[in-house]
Amino acid sequence: MTFDIPKEVNSHKVLEITVGATTEQGGTRSHTIQVGGSAALPFHFFEGELPNKPAVAMEVFDVLPSRYPDYLKAYYQDVIDNPGDMAKKCVDEYGAELISVRLEGTHPEKGNRSAEEAVETVQQVLESVSVPIIITGHSHFEKINAVMKKVCEATAGENCLINFVETDNYKTIAAACIAYHHTLVAQSPIDLNLAKQLNILLTDMSFPPEQIVMDPLTGTLGYGLEYTYSIMERIRTDGLGGDKMLAFPMLVNSGYESFRVKETRTPEEENPAWGNLESRGAYWETGTAMSLLAAGADLLIMYHPQAVETVKKKLEQAFKTETGE
């Protein structure tokens, strides 16, 4: 007996978003990266087009987070305090497809660096690598608005992914993205309706939908994944089912979230059942990334080079077979 594969074809698809701009497009990147565009659930090649492999970005810092583990520092050694050099290493050696520049140091309590200094850091990274750039901020509204405005202006035309705005603080940064042509991350706290509401607010102020990436604020393994996993699955099923305000690509910060919890920082001696610390760090981020890819992640910002290698290999294998390369 032959077996008929049970297919469920969706009537709608997720928007395809482009990050970065080449010289012809008004930027300085060597190429752009497309995310999203899916017409089927994650990895369901058999029932719909999945035009873009989920993209893997890595992150560099204006000020290194105090909790950044030593075993990660060891991968960067002398370049860790130089965001440009670190970005280059991420791209050349560890295969980063985009670079996120985290501007945590501009937070008034974490260094209070000025907007001008932030611009310098971002420009340093733009000069060091040719891949598209993500610019990642924080939740101190007053400061980050000032910083992002300057950064958006200074990088006009680059189509950076500006990460992030939230419901209580979206207008200034969204307006800067429109004015200087950047793409935007709409972040909402683990809730489908709040996510949708923010997308509606953005499109109501004429923000172009094809410049929105969603971040449903996923944590790492053991920190609410039972919620975030299902929120992402529901966002994706609803998006494919025709809810336009949920049909955006989704971003996951698996690196930032994974390396600030005790599970990736407690030595084996303190908790023998948790096993070897360094491999645990890579496992933890890999497990977070793989499960959230299954739930619908289109873009990951990762930290651990071993996890990056593992996850990228899985994605490349799958997309190579399916596109018949």
Binding site: M1, T2, F3, I5, P6, E8, F43, H44, F45, F46, R67, E109, S139, G219, L221, G222, Y223, G224, L225, E226, Y227, Y229, S230, E233, R234, T237, R260, V261, K262, E263, P272, A273, W274, G275, N276, L277, S279, R280, A282, Y283, W284, T286, G287, M290, S291, L293, A294, A295, Q306, A307, E309, T310, V311, K313, K314, L315, Q317, A318, T321
Partner: protein, 446 residues
């Protein structure tokens, strides 16, 4: 979906109201059948058509399969494609591979370690579930002694991968009361099928082709074996995810019986990192058993934590025990923080206090797993309740400090709490957990 209504069943009955089943009318009997309070065999006049229709309807779309004696491992009986539609019922079983060519001392050590391995998370003890014994030595003695070691040192269920029939027969005799699963690398012979039928074991069917797997499954079902596990070999884990989706969808949506069984996946990547990635993906997407080729504590801890999340009932928030948790190395003078017993709240708040570098007492109040605002709105996280809990756990004798920090989201309870808690200073904390480290720097908590 698959269940027949009372009326559907009534149509299949003789409609004679003879009462031979002990119920006065056929309609009443049909209602009892629909509620599974009666069995069709109680009706002496039911036709064969009725028996097969009602029998098939009562069979769950994905059969429950058990491995091991005593408190056996269970897989199957799932009812949904997405956990948010209801819940996933039977967590993916983690099997650790043992090879009979491994030195006996090492095997014995590994078995004991896996048996003893346990990690606590939100009140649950997380463990591996099964051993997968691969007979790759030339001597049947090696298999028998490995089984012996596993039986002596562990109560976990066993999956046997033994391509040699006579050896398998001897092994099954040793496991007569242990309900093992027999892993077949190719279509099992009639002898193996009859062995399994006699022993109560289950059969793992293997094929790289879905059509072939369906035909194997049909044959085995016809031979009277219904304890089946499916192993559809795939190129990579993303390929496997698609195959697993076909299988579960066919079972649930089309009630396609030959695929209505749990799925086993033998993980064999190029590195432990690969293996973790594959096992994580397939824990989310429909593998009921994953076999890991290595015993690696960090890998196991990661996978067990993921499994707990995916197989938690989405309707019931995970709760932590209501009590005082030490953060860092608190002394009686260290400050007290209070929040709810919603697990996510607990994990995030305890993590952020830890990140601040100070030591503290974290008082977790029972709010039935609700988060701060929800619990406050429901009257479960209010001054009176918190004050009472502080008395119940004798906190005033345990600590000397009289400073307690409440979540910024419920600043409105501070007056109420102070009234109920004489001698304490109630400090309103920040609204977002991520601001805890900077909040701690900004106030005097000593």
């Amino acid at each position: 979906m698959m269940a027949l209504s009372g009326l559907d069943i009534f149509k299949l009955l003789p409609k004679t109201n003879c009462g031979d089943c002990g119920v006065p009318t056929c309609m009443a009997f049909a209602m009892k059948l629909a509620q599974k309070k009666a069995e069709l065999s109680e009706c002496p006049h039911a036709s064969e058509d009725a028996a097969s229709a009602i029998g098939a309807a009562s069979e769950p779309p994905i059969r429950l399969v058990k491995i091991g004696g005593g408190s056996a491992f269970e897989a199957g009986n799932e009812t949904v494609m997405f956990r948010h539609e209801k819940t996933f019922f039977h967590p993916t079983g983690i099997a650790i591979q043992l090879r009979t060519t491994e030195a006996k001392e090492l095997l014995s050590k590994k078995i004991k370690e896996v048996e003893d391995y346990s990690v606590e998370r939100v009140g649950e003890e997380l463990k591996a579930d099964l051993f997968f014994i691969t007979h790759d030595s030339d001597s049947s003695e090696d298999l028998l002694s490995t089984i012996q070691l596993a039986k002596q040192n562990s109560s976990k269920g066993i999956i046997l991968d033994c391509p040699e029939e006579n050896t398998l027969r001897a092994a099954l005799e040793m496991l007569a009361n242990d309900r093992p699963a027999i892993f077949n690398r190719k279509e099992p012979s009639e002898q193996i099928v009859s062995l399994v039928r006699e022993s109560g074991a289950s059969l793992v069917l293997t094929s790289p082709s879905l059509d072939d797997l369906v035909s194997q499954s049909q044959k085995i079902r016809e031979a009277g074996v219904n304890s089946i596990i499916l192993n559809l070999e795939s190129h990579n884990s993303i390929d496997q995810l698609q195959h697993n989706t076909f299988i579960r969808r066919s079972a649930l949506k089309n009630n396609f019986k030959p695929l209505g069984y749990p799925i086993l996946k033998f993980i064999r990547g190029n590195s432990p990192y690969d293996n973790l990635a594959d096992a994580a993906l397939l824990t989310c997407k429909y593998s009921s058993i994953v076999v890991l080729p290595e015993y690696d504590k960090a890998q196991l801890f990661t996978l067990l934590t993921l499994r707990q999340s995916i197989y938690t009932d989405p309707q019931k928030p995970i709760q932590v025990d209501a009590k005082v948790y030490p953060i860092g190395d608190p002394t009686p003078d260290s400050p007290v923080f209070v929040t709810t017993n919603f697990s996510l709240t607990y994990f995030i708040v305890s993590g952020e206090i830890e990140n601040s570098g100070i030591s503290a007492h974290l008082l977790i109040v029972d709010t039935e797993g609700q988060s701060v605002l929800t619990a406050w709105a429901a009257g479960k996280f209010v001054g009176e309740k918190i004050a009472k809990f502080i008395k119940d756990v004798n906190l005033e004798e345990e600590v000397k400090t009289r400073k307690i920090v409440i979540p910024g989201l419920v600043s409105q309870i501070s007056g109420d709490l102070e009234e109920n808690l004489a001698g304490w200073e109630v400090i309103v904390g920040c609204q977002e957990a991520s601001d805890i480290p900077s909040f701690i720097k900004s106030v005097d908590l000593t």
